[in-house]
């Protein structure tokens, strides 16, 4: 619907991936709170009805940048034919984590039946794409600006899960600490 598109255009963020081989790869991030249909959304993802987006539980997300870095890594692995999971979308979830345990990443970052907020990351191949609104329309909740993520996540949980010591929090933002870990997990 027209009104929804106007709202979405203002509140969701669209980014182009610059560090991959493909010419046009885009990711759009949208954040929703007060979500009432998490179980249905999960079912849609499993059935393949939602096939170009990852739906995440924001509790352990440090910020939009955390997700972007993970998408970037996942796309890199897919292009380099080095996926550790079965698909690009599941690889994004795996890349959000600093651990090499795949099921753990799904448990931590994937949408749960009880999730009340959702961060949707939609992958598309041109700047303006119907794919984004199609996915976002499925989510029954209130779309909020990405900045609201800082009130929907748990800094303490994130520091615990990613093992960020207080000395590091003094010299670095949470996002930078998390992104450094997820990006270097293969060599650290």
């Amino acid at each position: 619907c027209g009104l929804r598109e106007a709202m979405t255009a203002e509140q969701y963020q669209c980014y182009k991936l610059e560090f991959c081989e493909a010419a046009e790869r885009w990711v759009s991030l949208a954040l929703f709170q007060g979500v009432s249909n998490a179980p249905k959304l999960r079912a849609d993802v499993t059935s393949g009805k939602i096939s170009s987006a990852v739906l995440l539980d924001p509790t352990h997300l440090a910020g939009g940048f955390h997700v972007l870095a993970a998408v970037n890594q996942a796309v890199m692995r897919e292009e380099g034919r080095q996926l550790k999971t079965k698909s690009l979308l599941s690889e994004v979830i795996f890349c959000l984590s600093a651990s090499t345990n795949i099921s753990e990443s799904f448990r931590r970052f994937g949408l749960k039946d009880t999730s009340q907020s959702v961060l949707a990351a939609v992958l598309h191949s041109s700047r303006s794409s119907n794919e984004v609104t199609t996915v976002l329309d499925q989510i029954s909740g209130e779309m909020v600006p990405l900045d609201a993520l800082s009130s929907l996540h748990s800094s303490e949980e994130i520091k615990k899960v990613f093992k960020i010591p207080p000395e590091e929090s003094e010299i670095s933002s949470l996002e930078n600490s998390v992104v450094t870990r997820i990006v270097t997990k293969d060599v650290t």
Binding site: Y15, F19, N176, T180
Partner: protein, 248 residues
């Protein structure tokens, strides 16, 4: 078959190197070319970043070149991550692509290169005002303390020069840059050599600053857990150094 895979790999590496160089011209700004890598300024999802792209050294056997480059890249990012975990300022790593030999990291913008800072102060001048002396003292004290912290975390920078250090005069903090030659070691010898490299670089870039460097070492010694043995090793290394007259 194994040979086919290897050939595919060679092709991909060559194409990969080409692809990055082509893309490198769009939106990336070359700011430095070294022996190991090209450094670019770029934008990573809106954040000012530095891209470090290592070359393929074609004179080397490909398999060896790959292994060596991977090892260097791993050491580099590992050291940066280790620094940060220990509360030592170093750039955050935003993206790592071993196949394309690319590291994308945070661009440090708070402050100035230590080299620039010291040039502006001009402390080697005989008639340097008290304010300059004070500022230099603060700077070298901070540097000594931060180096002690680095070495206490068993991180050897490997290329300590005033062009690889960022100083924020407002906060009095040091940020380390360029971990390309860094590694993890607890040996006092390695730490001594690290300091020696800095000493040579510092004194040759900024003449007549010996007394300030002494203060740096004092500050280091005081803050370090193993300062005595490291300084001891430094003295040994100084004696070994190049261009020593073989007298006595």
């Amino acid at each position: 078959c194994g040979l086919h895979d290897k050939m595919e790999q060679v092709e991909r590496v060559e194409k990969g190197a080409d692809a990055t160089s082509k893309k490198a011209r769009e939106g990336w700004k070359l700011i430095q070319q070294g022996a190991e890598a090209r450094i670019y300024k770029a934008d990573f999802f809106g954040r000012p970043s530095i891209v470090k792209e290592r070359f393929v050294k074609s004179y080397r056997v490909l398999a060896l070149d790959q292994k060596l480059t991977q090892r260097r890249m791993s050491q580099e990012v590992r050291s940066m991550a280790r620094c940060r975990k220990n509360g030592i300022r170093a750039p955050a790593v935003y993206h790592l692509d071993p196949q394309k030999r690319v590291i994308v990291m945070e661009e440090i913008t708070e402050g100035l290169l230590l080299k620039e800072h010291v040039f502006h102060l001009n402390p080697g001048d005989k008639d340097a005002p008290a304010s300059v002396v004070e500022a230099m003292n603060g700077l070298v004290a901070a540097l000594g303390r931060t180096l002690a912290r680095l070495h206490d975390a068993d991180i050897i920078h490997g290329d300590l020069t005033t062009s690889n250090l960022f100083f924020n005069p407002e906060k009095g903090t040091i940020t380390f840059l360029d971990f390309g030659l860094s590694f993890v070691s607890g040996l006092a010898e390695d730490k001594g050599v690290d300091l020696y490299v800095l000493e040579r670089a510092f004194l040759s870039t900024h003449p007549c600053t010996e007394s300030f460097f002494e203060r740096l070492l004092e500050s280091y010694s005081k803050a370090s857990k193993n300062g005595k043995s490291v300084i001891h090793k430094l003295d040994e290394v100084r004696m070994r150094g190049r261009k020593r007259s073989m007298v006595g």
